[in-house]
């Protein structure tokens, strides 16, 4: 049996298959379809300091091989999350990584400090890149701000830290480098790509919030490209996410350089998928003769001339 455990600096997981924030509710909703004990980790929906109502509907629209969403971080705030969800989540037979978003570095610190009281959490993922909230997207578009947020959180929170980064930038490599420098144990690549869907007959945008974030199989090549670029240039463990819907997709991300992956939009249309993948991965690694999943990570063979796009600035 291949060894599925993965180490992302201080974050140690029993297997590399996680479910992505914002695509798994607060886990309880998936009880009927998912065997939580099979998952490498659960990242519940983003929590903010204060309650947020979220964006007006329609909040999602399907596009070709993808989903455009503008949920807008609909949540009850950190205090309600702690009061109503943390005990339930940490009672599950699965590592839980809380996901938080702040308007500024101070808010991120307050959120992380509150979560610091729960050592039963496996880690905290910083959502520095939600495209549906003004202010939120700014952090991970700027290396200095990325560094400032992560280093401030690292000072006040003992939990392993993951920085979830946006693809909506010119140079992802320098952002990822800043995250690593600031003390992130790992980076999650990628959040959704900004998009818009239009009903031309009505001359109206389809989403209530006009712009949204694109996810699903349509964005997988972009996510893979970014994983390749960061894996080549930055010494930081990567959690790959973007359009994964089967075992081959998982393998592509691992080979590209991700140490672990998140299943996102696919949970919407294949509810039990994520909990089936670890066993499938184990079987495939055995048949490939790999002793450990880490033997697969970052094994992509590039042509001799390194692709220009992979060069660090």
């Amino acid at each position: 049996m291949a060894d599925l455990t993965v180490e992302l600096n201080r974050l140690k997981l029993r297997n590399p298959i996680l479910v992505a924030s914002g695509t798994f509710g607060y886990a309880k909703e998936a009880t009927a379809f998912v065997d939580f004990s099979q998952l490498g980790g659960i990242i519940p929906k983003t929590v903010t300091l204060l309650p947020r109502e979220g964006n007006p509907p329609p909040r999602t629209v399907e596009t070709s091989c993808g989903l455009l969403n503008s949920i807008g971080l609909d949540n009850d705030g950190i205090d309600t999350f702690i009061e109503k969800h943390v005990d339930y989540l940490t009672s599950l037979d699965c590592p839980i990584i809380a996901n938080v978003a702040g308007h500024n570095a101070e808010e991120f610190v307050v959120l992380a400090e509150k979560l610091n009281a729960f050592p039963q959490l496996a880690g905290v993922e910083l959502n520095m890149s939600c495209p549906n909230v003004s202010g939120g997207v700014d952090f991970a578009t700027n290396p200095d701000m990325t560094h400032a947020v992560i280093s401030a959180v690292r000072k006040k929170c003992k939990l392993p830290i993951i920085a979830k980064l946006t693809p909506n930038v010119t140079n992802i490599v320098e952002i990822a480098a800043a995250a690593a420098e600031g003390g992130a144990d790992a980076v999650t690549l990628i959040n959704t790509l900004m998009g818009v869907a239009i009903d031309w007959r009505r001359r109206k945008p389809i989403l209530g919030n006009v712009f949204g974030g694109l996810s699903g199989p349509a964005i997988k090549p972009v996510a893979l490209r970014i994983v390749c670029q960061v894996a080549k240039a930055v010494d930081v463990p990567i959690i790959g996410v973007g359009g994964i819907q089967n075992l081959n997709d998982v393998m592509e991300f691992l080979v590209a350089g991700a140490s672990a992956v998140q299943i996102g939009t696919a949970s919407f249309y294949s509810p039990g998928l994520a909990s089936r993948l670890p066993a499938e991965l184990s079987d495939l690694l055995d048949s490939e003769g790999a002793a450990s999943v880490s033997d697969i990570v970052c094994t992509l063979q590039y042509p001799e001339a390194t692709p220009v796009a992979c060069a660090a600035e």
Partner: protein, 295 residues
């Protein structure tokens, strides 16, 4: 904001839901642009109750990618009398439903459910169902249950079969679009049809026939309604004026159907007088009319 604290706080959370394969047993056009599909899916069919729904998907394609929600029309039984699957109605309007209309008998799809809270078990003598277009589909099972023609759900389900009178106010664009009228009639439902063009029944809206029913001796004690939003808003206003309890079944765009995506929200009145977005799939799709804020 999410009120759900534990699974049990969500009215439409279904712990016994399953993700399973469904095999197409029948797929036929029954009215203009309107089809009924019969799937073999015994596990899901044994659990589902009137007003609940399930998601259907073609696993071979990612365009369309997401599942689509469909309400239970009825369950069907095999030759031994065992519940074997579900029937549901759909209107061919987009990419997914156009594809579904091409599925031959024997084809496989994936479905997950049952989902949602369904209609409450009726405990009144005179029930009125108000339907607009394809919104008629959940009411065949409701009627079968309250008139004692069919049991639904697992052995924990305490259905009601006490209604003495079930009326259906059914509105459609024209006669071509009407479906299942004979099936409703056969089980003893009093049918009041209205069409936009007057090609069948009364020319006008369901609210016209409902208003007449309310002022008659057969005035309903409860109203269940499903249809386009403007129609449901008009029906809920009429019910409120007449002091008749009214439940509405919503159809909001959904991505997952079971509460993980937060797409399908609708604005709901809270007990403290404020309003908030709620997920139609796990807190509905059936709501008391006075809880909803229409846009």
């Amino acid at each position: 904001m999410d009120a759900g604290c534990s699974p049990h706080d969500l009215a439409g959370f279904v712990p016994s839901a399953v993700e399973c394969h469904g095999q197409v047993v029948e797929n036929r056009c029954v009215a203009k642009d309107t089809w009924i599909m019969r799937l073999f899916c015994p596990e899901l069919a044994r659990e589902i109750t009137p007003g609940q729904f399930f998601m259907v998907r073609d696993p071979r394609v990612t365009d369309p990618m997401l599942g689509r929600p469909f309400a239970l029309l009825d369950v069907w039984k095999d030759a031994n009398g065992n519940v074997a699957g579900v029937d549901f109605g759909y209107v061919v309007v987009g990419k997914m439903t156009s594809l579904m209309a091409t599925w031959p008998v024997g084809d496989d799809c994936v479905l997950w459910g049952p989902l949602g809270n369904g209609f409450p078990v009726s405990d009144v003598d005179r029930l009125c169902l108000v339907a607009g277009g394809i919104g008629v589909t959940p009411f065949l099972a409701v009627t079968n249950e309250v008139l004692g023609a069919q049991k639904y759900g697992n052995s924990n389900r305490i259905g009601s079969s006490r209604a003495k009178s079930v009326s259906l106010c059914y509105g459609a664009r024209s006669e071509d679009y009407l479906m299942c009228v004979d099936r409703f009639r056969a089980i003893g439902v009093k049918i009041h049809i209205s069409t936009d063009d007057g090609s069948c029944g009364q020319k006008g809206f369901v609210t016209d026939t409902l208003r007449e029913l309310i002022s008659s001796d057969d005035c309903p004690q409860s109203i269940y309604c499903c249809g386009p939003e403007p129609m449901m808003q008009a029906v809920s206003e009429l019910a409120a004026e007449s002091h008749i309890p009214c439940w509405l079944s919503l159809e909001t765009p959904m991505a997952c159907g079971f509460g993980i995506c937060f797409s399908c929200v609708t604005r709901v009145r809270m007990d403290d007088g404020s309003t908030d977005y709620r997920r139609t799939c796990v807190e509905g799709p059936v709501f008391r009319a006075e809880k909803l804020c229409f846009s």
